[in-house]
Structures are given as C-alpha cells and as structure tokens.
C-alpha cells in the first residue's frame, strides 16, 4: 500500500495466458520481489489485445499500460504475437505522434520460464512511469458541463 498522500503509479498489464501470465506466476512462486503497482489482466494471447483496451485504460486514468506476450516464434497460437507486433508498432508510433508520452504504453515479451525477467520488467516499467508522473493526456475528467453550471445559477 502506498503511504497516504504519496502518489503511486497505477499500471495495467495485459499478459498472455501461456507465457507472460505464467512468467508472473513463476516470479510469485519463486518469491521474487517486484513493485506492487501493476494490476494484471489475463488475456488468451497478446493478439487478443485491442487498441481499444489500451486507450480505454488510459482514458479511465491508469498511469501506464504494459502488454506482454510470448516471444516471437513461441506463440501458443503460432502467429498471434506476430500479428500483435505489427498492430502495436503502429499504435505506439501513432500515440507518440499524438503527443502521448513514450513510456506510457509499453510492450514486451516474457516466457513462462522467465520469472526473473518479469520482475525486472515490472521494475523498469514502474520506474519509468513514476518518472513521468500521473497521466493527464487522454484522461477523461468528470464532466463539468454547461448543464451543471447553469443549473447552479
């Protein structure tokens, strides 16, 4: 738990069921310490992750998004991560072009045997996002619409 009043980044991680999720599990069973800032969502494959998942997360106010799948060539569904890689290359470039900070959205590969790599990855990602500070761009703030303004007058 964060100390009260101190900001801690919230990071959402989409991990594929067959490699990265098992990698995270291994990190846990091996008792490797990593920052508790990451919230994990298990997905069947990194190819399942739609750009909407990522943008929606940012809109709802998470400070960083991590997507991780099997290493290329090791996908449980043979080619899911290859397709994902093309999608993410374009999405990442587009988000950066639009001015979303480079490390807000990150992609990696972690296999089921790489518990230590998973812990290191989370450490790295958390440190980078802590450096950036709270996410502001793309966050949807509660609407202070004209209707409220006029109703109060």
């Amino acid at each position: 738990m964060a100390e009260s009043g101190k900001w801690e980044p919230k990071i959402l991680a989409f991990l594929c069921n067959w490699c990265s999720y098992a990698g995270a599990d291994l990190a846990g069973t091996s008792r490797i310490q990593y920052p508790p800032n990451v919230r994990i969502i298990r997905v069947p494959c990194s190819g399942r992750v739609s750009p909407f998942f990522i943008l929606s997360s940012l809109q709802k106010g998470v400070d960083g998004v991590l997507v991780s799948g099997c290493h290329p060539g090791e996908c449980h569904y043979l080619t899911g991560n290859y397709s994902a890689r093309r999608k993410f290359a374009l999405l990442k470039s587009l988000l950066e072009f639009a001015g979303v900070e480079e490390s807000r959205v990150q992609f990696s590969w972690v296999s089921a045997s790489e518990g230590a790599r998973f812990a290191k990855l989370i450490e790295k990602v958390t440190a980078e996002i802590r450096e950036l500070g709270p996410s502001k761009r793309l966050v949807k703030t509660p609407h202070q619409g004209v209707f409220h303004a006029t109703a109060n007058k």
């Binding site: 750009p51 909407f52 943008l55 929606s56 809109q59 290329p72 060539g73 080619t79 290859y82 397709s83 890689r85 093309r86 999608k87 993410f88 290359a89 374009l90 999405l91 990442k92 470039s93 587009l94 988000l95 950066e96 072009f97 639009a98 001015g99 979303v100 900070e101 480079e102 990150q106 992609f107 990696s108 590969w109 790599r117 290191k120 990855l121 450490e123 790295k124 990602v125 761009r137 793309l138 966050v139 949807k140 703030t141 609407h143």
Partner: protein, 317 residues
C-alpha cells in the same frame, strides 16, 4: 474539360446501351458555381447529365459496397485505389464493377477560391486547361488552377487510375515520391506541442461522423463509434472522447487509407484529419513497405506479418 465530359458521356452511353451496367456513377454539374455533385445515371437519355471539371472531389467508391446492381464508376486515381482495397477486402466484386478511369490533375479547393474572391460573390466559373475564369456581377478574374488544389491532391503521387477498364483522356506523368515533409516537420515538434496542436484541432470536432461517411474504406455494418456493447468510446464532445475517436478512426484505416482526402473535405469544421492518417500511411510504408490500393495481389499489412518485423519498440529489461 468539355472534351473529358464528352468522352465520359460517350462511354456511359455505350455501357448503358449494351446493358453492360445498370448504373453509371459519376458527377453532374451542381446547382451552384464551383460545385459538382455525384450522380447516378440509369437511363441512356440521362447520360448528358454527366459532367467533369476540377470540382469532382467526392470519393465515388463510397457508393460501391453493398450495391446489388452492376455499376460503372468514374474513377480518378484515388477512387481506383479505393476500389482496389474494396476488392481486396471482398466488399466489391471485380466482375461487377467497370472503372472508367480518368487521370486526374488534382481537384480544386472551392473554399480557397471563394476566400480569394471574397467579399465578391462568384456567379459563374469556367475552366480552361490550367486557368479558372471567375465571373461575378461586377468582376471577372482569371486564376491559376494548380495554385488552388486540395492539400490531398498536392501530395498525390498516383494521379492515374491504377485499375481501369476504359481510360478517358491521356496518361499523366506520375509525380515523385511523397516525401511526407509535413509529417516530418510535425514529428520534429516536442510532444507537448504536438499534443496541444492535435487537441486544438479535435476540439473543433462536433462528432458528426461526416469524415467516416465520406470515407470509401469505412463500410463496417456497425461502426465502433455506434457500438454500445461494449461501448469503447464515449459519444460526447469531451476532448478525451474526441481525441480517442480520431486516433481510432485513423488507426482503423492503417494500411487501408488511400489518401483520397475525402474525410478532410467532408469535415464541416475544418479539423486537420489527415495529419493522423498520413502519419500511419508513412509508418505502414516505412515499416511494412506497403502502399494501399496499388495492387490487387499484395496482402494487407495488418493481415500478415514477417518474422523479422520491427522489434525496436519492444522493452527488454
């Protein structure tokens, strides 16, 4: 221009007479000067409505998906590229469409002409080769056509139809490759400046979806902006919602956008829509060596992969 019009009419007449098509989709003269509008010709007697000038800017390929009739379409370079993509995506059957290819010298931006003539009102316009002759109640003015082209036409590198069954007029010289100078300049700005610029642009957006409706490649039966289960995107004009709408609209066209510029021309509030689209066109070309709409055989970039695709963005702890 008259010659092109006559050629298009003759071809349309022949196609309708021989019953090769049931409808010819082309342009007719609009009711105002500087306007041409899409028209659908089904009878031989109506063929003389067809018209061609520098204001035939709509992307006509938008009328092809789900059309039951056998159709002929007057196709500029961009229209033909859109048809190629539609055929690849199985929205149009190649043997159900006849392309009347028209090499295009670029379409003229009406609003620029109007603002250059303002406050005088243009009542009549004639187009002769590279000149536009404007006439109002108390003035006559000659403008150079090539100076008033749409942004998308200025950067167009494939003015000739890539796919056509009949060709009208002569093949034009293809321009040099698009250097994406505008995108490179924009990319050189700081993230802060880019964000501020795009945010200011999308803040004009009123979410009318004219860009989507004008786009020849937007044909989903249910668009992501209309989907409510799950509702991925807010329908308000909150700046976060509009930004995500524009990002996803552009992303949805990655590797499919044929750079026709129909989205930007349809926008009633003048959002710089093509900025994001062109960035993706550039990325798709740089990363995957693909240009949309150029050939029927090449697989779409997001429907395939190579084992040695770029890995530069992958984090290695």
């Amino acid at each position: 221009m008259q010659q092109l019009t006559n050629e298009i009419r003759a071809i349309a007449r022949k196609l309708l007479r021989e019953k090769k098509v049931e409808v010819v989709i082309g342009f007719e003269r609009g009711s105002m000067p500087l306007r041409s509008r899409p028209c659908f010709i089904r009878k031989e007697e109506e063929v003389n409505r067809l018209f061609w000038d520098g204001f035939c800017e709509n992307a006509l390929a938008v009328y092809l998906p789900k059309r039951k009739e056998r159709a002929a379409i007057v196709a500029k370079g961009c229209d033909s590229r859109a048809v190629v993509e539609l055929i690849k995506e199985k929205q149009v059957q190649r043997d159900r469409v006849i392309l009347i290819g028209v090499p295009c010298r670029g379409m003229v931006d009406r609003s620029r002409i109007e603002s250059s003539a303002a406050p005088r009102r243009i009542l009549e316009m004639r187009e002769i080769e590279d000149t536009l002759i404007l006439r109002g109640t108390d003035f006559e003015e000659t403008l150079k056509r090539s100076e008033f082209l749409h942004e998308s036409c200025k950067t167009c590198t494939h003015p000739n139809p890539v796919l056509h069954d009949v060709l009208v007029s002569e093949w034009l010289e293809e321009k040099n490759e698009d250097p994406f100078a505008d995108i490179q300049t924009f990319d050189a700005l700081t993230a802060e400046e880019r964000w501020d610029y795009l945010n200011k642009e999308v803040d004009k957006c009123i979410r009318c979806y004219a860009c989507r409706n004008a786009c020849p490649l937007c044909y989903c039966p249910e668009c992501f902006v209309d989907a409510s289960l799950p509702q991925w995107i807010g329908k308000s004009i909150d700046s976060s919602d509009t930004m995500i709408f524009h990002l996803m609209r552009a992303y949805h066209l990655a590797g499919r956008c044929v750079s026709c510029g129909a989205c930007e021309r349809a926008c009633p509030v003048g959002v710089d829509i093509r900025k994001l689209n062109r960035k993706l066109v550039k990325d798709v070309k740089d990363l995957f060596g693909y240009e949309a709409g150029l050939n029927l055989e090449q697989t779409s970039p997001l429907a395939t992969f190579r084992p040695d695709d770029t890995e530069s963005f992958i984090v290695n702890p």
